[in-house]
Amino acid sequence: MGTTITKTDKLVGQRVRRREDPRLITGTATYVEDVKLPDLHHAVIVRSPHGAAHIKSIDFSKAAALPGVVAVFVGRDTKDVGGVVCGVELPGLRKPHHHILAIDRVYFVGHPVAVVVATDRYIAADAADLVEVDYEPTRAVTDVEKALAPGSPAVHPEWPDNIAFTFHQNGGDTDKAFAEADVVLKQRITSQRLVPNAMETRGVVASWHAGDRALTIYTSTQIPHLARSILAGMLGLEENRLRLIAPEVGGGFGSKLNVYAEEALAAFIAMKIGKPVKWIETRRENFMVTIHGRGHVDFYEIAARRDGTILGVKLKIIQDIGAFHQLLTPAIPTLSVLMMPGLYNFRNIQAEIVGTFTNCVPTDAYRGAGRPEATHGIERMVDILAAELKMDPAEIRLKNFVTKDQFPFPTATGLNYDSGDYAATLNKALEMTNYKQLRADQAKARAEGRLVGIGICTYGEVSAFGPSPATAAGGWESATVKIEPSGKVTVLTGSSPHGQGQETSYAQIVADELGVGIDDVLVLHGDTSIVQYGIGTFGSRNTAVGGSALYYALQDLKVKVKKMGALLLEADEVELIGDQCRDPKTGKSVAFAQIAGAAYRALKLPKDTDPGLVVTKFWEPSNFTFPFGAHIVSSEVDRETGEITIQRYVAVDDIGNIINPLLVDGQLHGGVAQGLGQALWEEAVYDDNGQLVTGEFMDYAMPRARMMPWIESAHTYTPSPVNPLGVKGVGEAGTIGSTPAMVNSVVDALSPLGVRHIDMPLTPEKIWKLIAGSKS
């Protein structure tokens, strides 16, 4: 730029409180359930109580006769609506047709079979109870290993082996590595089914104006534009006739990175009855029919030299698919394969995935999506190896890390790690915990007969999806920046934040780049009629990809602002200082707002320059980013009750540069809570008949305030070279780092009893049984 801009009040890097909060803390935000339209009707869905059954008949005459009921639809009415879409292509992938209402068979508990529409939600619920469905139950299978066993019931009769797909990947020469190894260790490791449980359940409001063929869908989604494209396709409607609005979205965690049957169903109803219709998922439905996460049974083998050098890893993943694929279902375990080397320097991997149908709700992306499973696996195996070789878990990690001079580092799985200093991050965590002292205290406690453990996890993740060839949809993101005639700045972001705080962090970037006040910036998102096409918020990509698109749009806009400023000042070159454009030769300046006004008034414009001050940028990264970190947990297990107490939780995360540390803390705390939820308490359990027995908050133990430890958080900073902001992404880091750290801690506590591995969740009952078993 040729000029030096001195500005001391940069907002990037500051703990700026959120600009989205005033509406949220005063109860004036609009979530889907808050959307009211004239003559709004209400839909309630009748769902299968069976894991597998034939539908012999449906009698909805009593429901239809109830005053206030305007329509009842069953599968044959909606059979021409396109099936629920799976956006993943893999060789040999079996994709069962997934009708939005079941036709003659149900495949999992909660499978929708009919929908009742009424003028009032209570009446709709009454009427749904009056729909009589005659089922002929068949045998269900809900356990992945049983589903693969000979003689298992077939989820889809056309595929009696229940295999949805298989996938193989090899890197290096794994057989040779294993043949040359001093030690080969095997372990079966599960990563249980989890329920994402965003506090706002899903919901849809659909409204159809036949006169201008205009459909509006309000839906709680992470991907408004992709959802619009997919729903238009399912409904056979021109895409530009569908306006999709993601209003305030009450959490997603991957569960709203999807397009569901109910979204198409609500639109179908609105188009049929010519009235707006609302469907709000109950919590019970959210448990039953919104995607679940994880669902792995993994078989690991690790090969190493006696000095602790890891030579290679073999992994077989049995992935519980559920009865159908949702948007990204089969892709999720492939992310586990990508990240199976973790942060380590070995070059030999062998991986196999067996995607397996079960009579359960589909699995799909849940916070971390494939990477928590991979991290849990490798971090458990490294600990198991350390125990076998009687090495310290910190020492074995430091010995095997990719070193900071090895970046960019090509992995055996085909990734290219962007930047990092893994040893520095672990060393910082060791220092914060005073690790040597911690081990000394542990030895003392053990001598007293106490069960005290220290768990380390050093994780890496692949984040900030794309580039495009590596993603199921486009891997780019978009931003429009409009400087309005008054000088106020409007940002339209194609990513669709839903709690992450980009209305604030993006405004910080804009304020720094343009020199305007943060309160002069408005960030809009989520409405396809307002915002240019975008991809969405998932995979820790929002700031890294969407923020970078914004950054580049701002650079283009600054060029134009300076051209206008130079024209107004009759200068050759000008500099942007604060909200002024200044001629360094004369010292004369013109205010940003004046430039904006002149650009729109357009009496005089620079040569080859159009009126207005608007730039739209679509930007695609050249690579993923690879955040990493080290989490250390010290814990104590009560011998009498099996209860686990977390004594310290230390997290050192390297997520590259940080735009807003306050928001980063929030992301990490929430991520750790979800990771500890998996480690200690949460599990979606189906019985053999296909009943979801953990189908309410009463049975499914989500972390509450008193269950969470105090999290001590710190960072190292290794900027990503992949994007101009140097950010890596933080949305999933806490979830990925916490689970193995917690489990390693408890296994370490119980290791004097001969315990080598425990599958999650580490409930007191499970731990107590282990302790009791070891006594006998």
């Binding site: 409180r17 803390i25 959490g251 008193r706």
Partner: protein, 160 residues
């Protein structure tokens, strides 16, 4: 089916008296949200386990998804919409939630703020442990609670 009878109730909500004809089965949360249009309180679970619907009824934080509107007849209710004063000045607990980044998606927040106010009403100077115990009936999936604990502590220091 027998015709549904309605009953008349009179409730003071955020200082305004409302008299309404309601079905006996109408839940209080639906009365507040649908009949009165106060959509700040949310339905998160319908089973009183998540607390997103928490409002103050005659000074006590209650789960309005698990109470009928007719049970609230004659009572005084405060919802999150009633916390800021008429000039729009926020309640200290709202300020504390904002300053401490005690919310992300915001869905649990109105209930969290209402229960947090009750924690301090019962104990103006709670320990972190007492704050966490006080939050036990309310679920948040975003924050890991740490910033909520900070907010309640900050509000306590401010004498909220």
């Amino acid at each position: 089916m027998t015709p549904i009878t309605t009953r008349s109730i009179t409730v003071s909500v955020n200082g305004v008296s409302h008299t309404s004809q309601v079905e006996p089965r109408l839940l209080l949360i639906h009365y507040l949200r649908e009949t009165l249009g106060l959509t700040g309180s949310h339905v998160g679970c319908e089973t009183s386990l998540c607390g997103a619907c928490t409002v103050a009824l005659d000074g006590k934080a209650i789960k309005s998804c698990s109470m009928f509107a007719i049970q609230a007849d004659g009572s005084k209710i405060v919802t999150v919409e009633g916390l800021a004063d008429s000039s729009g000045r926020l309640d200290p607990m709202q300020e504390a939630f904002w300053n401490e980044h005690a919310l992300q998606c915001g869905f649990c927040t109105p209930g969290m703020i209402m229960v947090s106010k009750q924690i301090l009403e019962r104990n103006p100077n709670p320990s972190d442990e007492q704050i966490r115990d006080g939050l036990d009936g309310n679920l948040c999936r975003c924050t890991g609670y740490q910033h909520i604990v900070n907010a309640v502590r900050t509000a306590a220091k401010a004498g909220a």
